[in-house]
């Protein structure tokens, strides 16, 4: 009884948040899945339970295949690009360099800007106009003799171009993560490896790199979950065009233009599943790890 009296007030203080998270996160996720399993394909109908029909039927839509392929290409280019560039920036700075504070501030500031504002500049930079009408990169490339390109309007590699503004915006963050990781490697460990006859590359390969693994994982998770739900950036750069369609934009169109709640909910469910599949194990793993230490 005494024990209960010590923890009950705490539970009461958190209770409002528990209710809110319960309703708005888990309740609504469930509600959304439930809606995805009905045939409510317009605003007014009741919606009968149809099981997984929508989840299977959506694979018959060409647009769905397009948007999934786009999301995959975007994710691969964005995650790898931001990871490599962020790591490289941290690598250049890890041993300390004059003006480090300013460098860090410059690489990181794009994070403070909204994807919509970013999208506006990059739409200009990646304008597909060529020759006389070229602005942005195409004008610049032309001036220095590089070939012009369709950028995000390229039918095959457009989504790779679309990842460029996202890399610009997020690699500073990855840099900050890696920099903290580098600095967390005790100097004694490096010194010990040097005494054992490792050259600088060996120290890096056998001492630093393994210790950076947790940071790399965090960065992967963060970049991955941003990427799979990407929406603002695509809308700001190219609107609702099929040529840059991704599931999140397709869902928006399904809800607002096609007025098909069940289809929208189905797409939303797939987006949630694609993120949950790697975030849930990661969360369980990191909470367990923290408890152990």
């Amino acid at each position: 009884m005494r024990r209960v009296r010590t923890w009950l007030p705490g539970l009461l203080l958190v209770a409002p948040s528990i209710v809110l998270i319960g309703v708005f996160v888990y309740g609504m996720l469930g509600w959304n899945f439930r809606l995805a399993m009905t045939d409510k394909h317009d605003e007014v109908s009741e919606g009968k339970f149809v099981g997984l029909e929508n989840f299977l039927g959506i694979w018959d839509l060409p647009r769905w295949h397009i948007s999934v392929n786009h999301a995959i290409m975007f994710t691969v280019v964005f995650v790898l690009g931001a990871l490599v560039l962020g790591w490289f920036l941290a690598f250049l700075m890890e041993k300390g360099i004059r003006g480090e504070g300013s460098f860090r501030a410059i690489y990181l500031f794009p994070m403070a800007i909204s994807f919509v504002a970013t999208g506006i500049v990059w739409r200009w930079l990646m304008n597909s106009g060529m020759g006389e009408r070229a602005v942005g990169f195409n004008r610049l490339f032309d001036a220095i003799g590089l070939p012009q390109w369709q950028w995000f309007r390229d039918p095959d590699w457009g989504m790779a171009a679309m990842a460029l503004p996202a890399i610009w915006q997020m690699s500073g963050y990855v840099m900050a993560l890696f920099l903290a990781g580098f600095r967390g490697v005790p100097e004694e460990l490096r010194e010990a490896a040097r005494v054992d006859g490792c050259n600088e590359w060996g120290v890096y390969r056998h001492v630093v790199l393994p210790l950076l693994r947790p940071v790399t994982l965090s960065a992967l998770i963060i970049l991955g979950h941003i990427s799979l739900k990407v929406f603002d950036l695509i809308v700001a750069v190219s609107g609702k065009q099929i040529i840059t369609d991704v599931p999140a934009v397709f869902m928006w169109v399904a809800v607002f233009d096609s007025h098909d709640p069940a289809k929208g909910a189905t797409i939303a469910s797939y987006i949630v599943l694609s993120v949950a599949i790697f975030v849930i194990p990661y969360l369980i793993w990191s909470v367990r790890k923290e408890r152990r230490s």
């Binding site: 923890w7 007030p9 705490g10 539970l11 203080l13 958190v14 409002p16 998270i21 708005f24 996160v25 309740g27 609504m28 509600w31 959304n32 920036l89 360099i97 460098f103 410059i106 690489y107 500031f109 403070a112 800007i113 909204s114 994807f115 919509v116 504002a117 506006i120 500049v121 990059w122 200009w124 930079l125 106009g129 006389e132 009408r133 070229a134 602005v135 942005g136 610009w168 900050a176 993560l177 960065a219 998770i221 963060i222 739900k229 603002d232 809308v235 700001a236 609107g239 599931p247 869902m251 809800v255 929208g264 797409i267 939303a268 987006i271 949630v272 993120v275 949950a276 975030v279 369980i284």
Partner: protein, 286 residues
């Protein structure tokens, strides 16, 4: 260390510095474009002058952009200020309990909270819209919950609970348990201890949460596009509409994009240190 090694070290430092500077130019390229284009008069809109500095500098585009964007900026203030303060209050209470006044199952609960940080909001959007529409009808307040700022604030505060709880929890963990214990021995209850021991030292965490929430509320587009109407459109939606209109010249688009980014840029410049810490918290690191 031999002279050769020392020289090699200096060369390496030079190469690093060179690469960092080259990347600075790449990173600042979009900013150059934003600034330069925003000061150009319409007569210099020709693509051939795309990368040139303006021949005549003018504030005309800024004036028009300001006129178009001002209602959105004001809506964003009404959204982001109360939103971040409320998030802060909830996050602080949760973080305190989950670190210092734990109950059975607190770890499981915390994990369940954390998942809320990673869910793609698309997964709750349709039910959320339905609920807010329902609240409008229930209360008879048209355009308040759905289509209004209060509904948007509600959404942001609720979905901000996980990250704010995480930041405060990780910060409060560093307060020595003895301080809490001493207060308890003195006969202070949970709230009293919170008020007199924990809250007075919460400054840094409060700063981190306010900055983090203010920035995400200010920059949010997804919730805004689903939940608000023309009267309550915040900056991002208005900005997208301005830029999406074919007739809007580049100079106005760029000026509007800068205007929309000024508040978060100021925060970043003035309070960059705390901004960094918020980012680190997002990586689940204390």
């Amino acid at each position: 260390m031999t002279a050769v090694a020392a020289r090699r070290g200096r060369v390496f430092t030079g190469v690093r510095l060179g690469m960092l500077l080259a990347l600075v130019i790449v990173f600042l390229l979009p900013i150059y474009v934003l600034l330069v284009t925003s000061f150009k008069p319409l007569t210099e809109a020709d693509p051939s002058q795309a990368w040139n500095l303006p021949q005549t500098w003018t504030l005309e585009a800024w004036r028009v952009a300001w006129e178009k964007l001002a209602p959105g900026l004001w809506n964003s203030v009404l959204l982001a200020v109360p939103g971040s303060v409320l998030s802060c209050v909830l996050g602080s209470m949760n973080g305190y309990v989950l670190s210092k006044w734990r109950f059975p199952g607190a770890d499981v609960l915390f994990t369940l909270f954390l998942f809320g940080m990673f869910i793609p909001y698309q997964g709750v959007m349709i039910p959320l819209v339905q609920l807010l529409v329902g609240l409008n009808e229930l209360t008879g307040l048209q355009g308040v919950f759905y289509g209004g700022i209060p509904g948007l604030v509600l959404a942001h505060v609720v979905y901000g609970i996980p990250i704010c709880t995480l930041i405060f929890r990780n910060y409060y963990v560093t307060i020595p348990d003895e301080l809490i214990e001493a207060s308890r021995v003195d006969g202070a209850g949970m709230l009293r201890t919170y008020w007199s021991v924990v809250l007075p030292v919460s400054g840094p965490a409060v700063a981190v949460v306010i900055i983090w929430q203010f920035t995400s509320l200010w920059n949010d587009f997804l919730f805004a596009v689903f939940l608000t109407g023309p009267q309550s459109w915040p900056t991002t939606v208005m900005l997208n509409n301005i830029a999406g209109a074919q007739a809007t010249p580049y100079s106005q688009q760029m000026a509007a994009a800068i205007l929309a980014s000024i508040p978060t840029m100021i925060i970043y410049v003035v309070l960059g240190r705390f901004f960094m810490r918020g980012l680190m918290a997002g990586a689940l690191k204390g």
